[in-house]
């Protein structure tokens, strides 16, 4: 009986949470199309996350491309298909690794900071203070973050794709002895617009997920430092899981 009660509680908690997050998304859209728009605030936030995330994104792309080239060589050299390495590197990066790894890194780097910041604001009554100053929480805090991440992720992914291909190129040319011109030609000839586009669409959706989940967890955080910590952890874990689930769904759509 005890177990049934616990399962029931978890079930109702899940339903309640899904309802709350749908309600949150509804309000985000409602206020995103309603004045006031704090353009300066939106732009500042976009520039902030863009500049602060570039180094981590560049490193992720560079090392992923290098590892991909090395690992592909290990496999393809067994049946003399080394020439497929440039194709594998560029396809894997643009369609899969670029968007997923970038989203996971941004979730850890930016998502956690969004959740912690909003949760701290909640705990220290700054969210209430916003209301007393006639400022809508969604317009001031949620919209800039959601818009920034939804727009920034595709740019980050483009960067990761480019730097990753360069990483693969460096390993292939200088370590595995590929001809540099043939490597680049194979990369460019094999890449289609759909490959790149599917990655960009994924990135945009992942950016939206990270921002919404992080803002939501921040807003509904518990009290005190424990509440802030839990909100941050929940934001990163939930958005990472959702990224992986949506990655499969979107891959099926673009398959």
């Amino acid at each position: 009986m005890d177990y049934i009660e616990k399962i029931g509680k978890i079930f109702f908690y899940l339903i309640f949470s899904i309802g709350k997050i749908i309600h949150f998304i509804f309000f985000f859209f409602k206020y995103s199309f309603k004045p006031k728009f704090y353009l300066k605030n939106n732009l500042k936030y976009f520039v902030d996350i863009f500049i602060s995330s570039i180094p981590i994104i560049a490193l992720t792309g560079f090392f992923s491309g290098m590892v991909l080239a090395l690992q592909s060589y290990t496999g393809f050299s067994r049946f003399s298909a080394e020439s497929a390495i440039p194709n594998i590197v560029v396809l894997t990066l643009t369609r899969e690794l670029g968007p997923v790894l970038t989203a996971l890194m941004i979730s850890a780097r930016v998502g956690s900071s969004i959740a912690a910041e909003i949760a701290t604001m909640r705990v220290t009554e700054q969210i209430d203070a916003l209301k007393t100053l006639n400022t809508n929480f969604y317009n001031y805090l949620v919209t800039p973050r959601v818009l920034s991440l939804t727009l920034a992720l595709p740019i980050f992914v483009t960067l990761v794709d480019f730097i990753g291909v360069m990483g693969g190129y460096i390993v292939s040319v200088f370590r595995l002895g590929f001809n540099e011109n043939i490597y680049l030609m194979n990369t460019l000839n094999f890449l289609s617009f759909t490959d790149y586009f599917s990655g960009i669409v994924k990135a945009s959706i992942f950016g939206f997920i990270i921002a919404i989940v992080s803002c939501y967890n921040g807003l509904y955080s518990g009290k005190g430092s424990f509440g802030v910590g839990t909100a941050t952890t929940n934001a990163v874990v939930t958005s990472s899981i959702l990224i992986l689930i949506f990655n499969y769904i979107l891959t099926e759509l673009f398959f």
Binding site: D128, T132, N134
Partner: protein
């Protein structure tokens, strides 16, 4: 503006915080809401300000049921200053976020009103003391010239000297600007100094109310216990 609270109730889960509370807050008076920690004072204040909803009852602002947020200001218990903004941006928050940049003189005037040196203009909240944070929060609360000001535990976390200075400041500002003030506190000195009327809340109900200068003469068992507790605490110090 008179604020009339009628049969207000609020529960969190199974805990009933406010039970059928009614009170009348008079225009241009300083009303003190007294009570022990956790008796529901802050919840009451947030319901009056419509920051949270009540389960039952209503609040009338003059004759209206909806609050005109621009005519109200609030000083939060711990200031609730925005960490990423400077002192000036905090004080002139409504102008700052709306892209108005010509607020410098108005901010300096507000800073002068609350006894803040202009040297703090560009500092961040993390760079100033607790007493100064309270002054910045007070300056922000009065920046838009509200008709009604809510003060949530204005002297919490301050030493006796700073507490007294903040009380003096509040008293001076509400008299100068002719505001209706609603203060939540468990600090008797603060209540006696800044209040005209008081409501004593105990276990979610209004136990007694009256004029602040008669507070010590009123015969009420719960209020006596509360005052005796405060006096005992002061003696042990």
């Amino acid at each position: 503006m008179n604020i009339e609270i009628k049969n207000l109730s609020k529960s969190f889960g199974e805990v009933s915080v406010l039970k059928n509370i009614s009170m009348n807050i008079k225009n241009n008076k300083s009303t003190i809401i007294l009570g022990k920690s956790g008796c529901g004072k802050s919840v009451l204040l947030k319901i009056i300000y419509q920051l949270i909803n009540c389960d039952d009852g209503e609040v009338l602002y003059g004759k209206k049921k909806e609050i005109d947020i621009d005519t109200f200001g609030m000083l939060f218990q711990y200031g609730a200053l925005f960490d990423s903004l400077t002192v000036a941006q905090n004080i002139a928050f409504i102008d700052h976020i709306n892209g108005i940049t010509s607020y410098k003189n108005k901010v300096l005037l507000s800073m002068k009103d609350v006894g803040l040196d202009s040297i703090n203009y560009d500092k961040f909240p993390s760079e100033i003391s607790g007493g100064m944070k309270k002054r910045v929060a007070l300056a922000r609360a009065i920046y838009k010239n509200p008709k009604v000001i809510f003060l949530d535990e204005p002297t919490t976390g301050l030493d006796p000297i700073n507490s007294d200075m903040i009380n003096e400041l509040i008293l001076r500002i509400i008299k100068k600007k002719k505001m209706t003030a609603i203060t939540i506190t468990h600090d008797i000195q603060s209540a006696l100094k800044t209040g005209d009327e008081f409501f004593f809340i105990n276990d979610g109900i209004v136990e007694c109310h009256g004029n602040c200068n008669e507070m010590l003469k009123i015969k009420n068992l719960k209020l006596d216990e509360f005052l005796a507790g405060v006096k005992k605490l002061q003696k042990t110090r």
